[in-house]
Amino acid sequence: MTAARSGRTVGRRIALGFTLPLALGGLWHLASRRGPGGAYAFVPLRDVAGGFLEVARSGELRYDALSTLREAFTGLLVGSVAGVAFGAVLGLSRTADRLLGPLYHGLRQVPLMGLVPLIGLWFGNGAGAKLLVVSLAAFYPVALATADGLRQVERAHLELARALVLGRRDTFRQILLPSAAPFIVTGVLQALAFTWIASVGSELLFSATSGLGGFMALAQAAGRMDLVIVAIASIAVLGSLMNVAVTRLGRRAQRWRHAS
């Protein structure tokens, strides 16, 4: 492929990438013109834009977005700390792994949102309950990553520790932890996506009134499809941005790992 040809290809790709959305957008526009039901189901794009400006200007959108973000990150923090602790126990002690492992895996089988009624029953509907759900979303993957990371420490390094007669503490600090660290970091970064989704989901299921999920639920109750679409777009955009950031950071972590 000559340089000239690949240049044409990039431009072509971008152009092609827009054809489908534009075509669908056109169809949507036509559908929203059709009869009374049309504008209800296929909200005119103009209205969506109007709705967006409405909530953007009033600061409502920003407030709700920040609220969900805050929940997601707090949950990530809490869940990761708990996850690292639990994962360390599982990864370091085979007995603990045998005893607690099945319980952990069993609990993991229940879809997180399926635990919401139970958590609601025990802890009510408040911020605490939501935090618990979001933290769980981070807990599972981080615990797994920590346990796996600790278990995969190279035999060669472990034997070195034994040869140097390092105590348990030193072995942990000097060898196990640095070796497992990239896995843990990757696990935490990936957990962010889960906590983001869990935040939105728990807002929906707990009938919250704040956060992007709450905003969306209110808009749905009021029959405002345009705002619902604005909410969906915001969730998607913020989610993608975080994904991109995570991937970049993740690559840095990997480079680190290969350098060691």
Partner: protein, 299 residues
């Protein structure tokens, strides 16, 4: 005479209306074929002005160093790659795409792992409008030909490399193609299996007498099996010498006559004149003269 050099255009090309006597014609005519690859601006020539005529029913080997384009040439003969300058015809008809009149055996057997041997061989017949019973018979016949009767229901991962390659040969032959192409078919196998399969291949060829064209690194293998060994050289690939092996089949591996020719070819490949081994007893053939003559020609 034993080591008569065959210049590339000494044999008359077939008449324009090549007669397709019976099913087993299979004469290949390669004229002025050149091919190059375009790698982001750089042009990499792979084959240059290949002229070769392969009469029907012969076993030809193509040997040469790595990268001389011999596998590429085989792929052109199969029709897997196009985009070349020149003309390739099979019995007068140009080759533009793969067809069932040619069979090919790859170095990696490429048996489909999710099918039994039986199904794998049958796959070759899928596009043929034959009744199912006939297809079953053909599959059975060719599996037996390569010595795999009883393994019809085995999966490829259950077989050794040699057995898998034999199955690949059966698959390539089941359509009774005019030409069988083999691309380093035994390269991935261990030495003993290789020898055994070479003997199998000789036996199969003697039975079917279809044109067979084999690309190989192994000069001994080439000399053992072929009527003609084409030596390719250079990057890009060009036809160098063509060495006849005028001994009747079946042949003995390691016979002194074959070893002479081997030495000659190796000499061509290593770009040194072939020197006869003075310790070899004369077997009624002017070995010394042959070597000397070759050395003189080479220079």
């Amino acid at each position: 005479m034993r080591q008569a050099k065959v210049p590339s255009s000494s044999l008359p090309p077939p008449a324009a209306s090549a007669s397709r006597a019976g099913e087993q014609a299979g004469a290949l005519h390669i004229q002025g074929v050149s091919k190059s690859y375009d790698l982001g601006g750089r042009v990499l020539p792979v084959l240059e002005s290949i002229d070769l005529f392969i009469p029907a029913g012969q076993f030809i080997s193509i040997v040469g160093q790595s990268g001389c384009g011999k596998s590429t040439l085989l792929r052109l003969l199969e029709g897997l790659d196009t985009g070349y300058v020149g003309r390739i015809t099979l019995d007068g008809a140009p080759i533009v795409a793969p067809g069932l009149d040619r069979g090919i055996v790859f170095q990696d057997h490429r048996l489909l792992p999710w099918m039994t041997l039986e199904k794998n061989v049958e796959l070759a017949l899928r596009m043929r409008p034959l009744p199912a019973a006939r297809k079953a018979d053909l599959v059975e016949e060719y599996l037996a030909l390569v010595g795999l009767q009883g393994f019809e229901h085995a999966y490829p991962h259950q077989l050794s490399g040699g057995m898998a390659q034999r199955a690949a040969i059966a698959r390539a032959l089941v359509n009774e193609p005019k030409v069988l192409l083999l691309d380093e078919p035994f390269g991935a196998l261990d030495a003993l299996t290789r020898i055994r399969l070479q003997q199998e291949l000789q036996r199969i060829w003697m039975r079917s007498r279809s044109t067979m064209i084999m690309v190989t690194h192994d000069v001994a293998e080439a000399v053992f099996l072929s009527d003609l060994v084409v030596v390719m050289d250079g990057k890009p690939g060009r036809i160098g010498r063509q060495v006849r092996v005028p001994y009747p089949h079946s042949r003995e591996r390691g016979s002194a006559l074959l070893q002479e020719i081997e030495r000659e070819i190796l000499g061509l490949l290593l770009d040194q004149p072939a020197t006869p081994d003075p310790s070899m007893p004369s077997l009624g053939a002017p070995s010394v003269t042959g070597g000397g003559r070759l050395a003189a020609v080479k220079a």
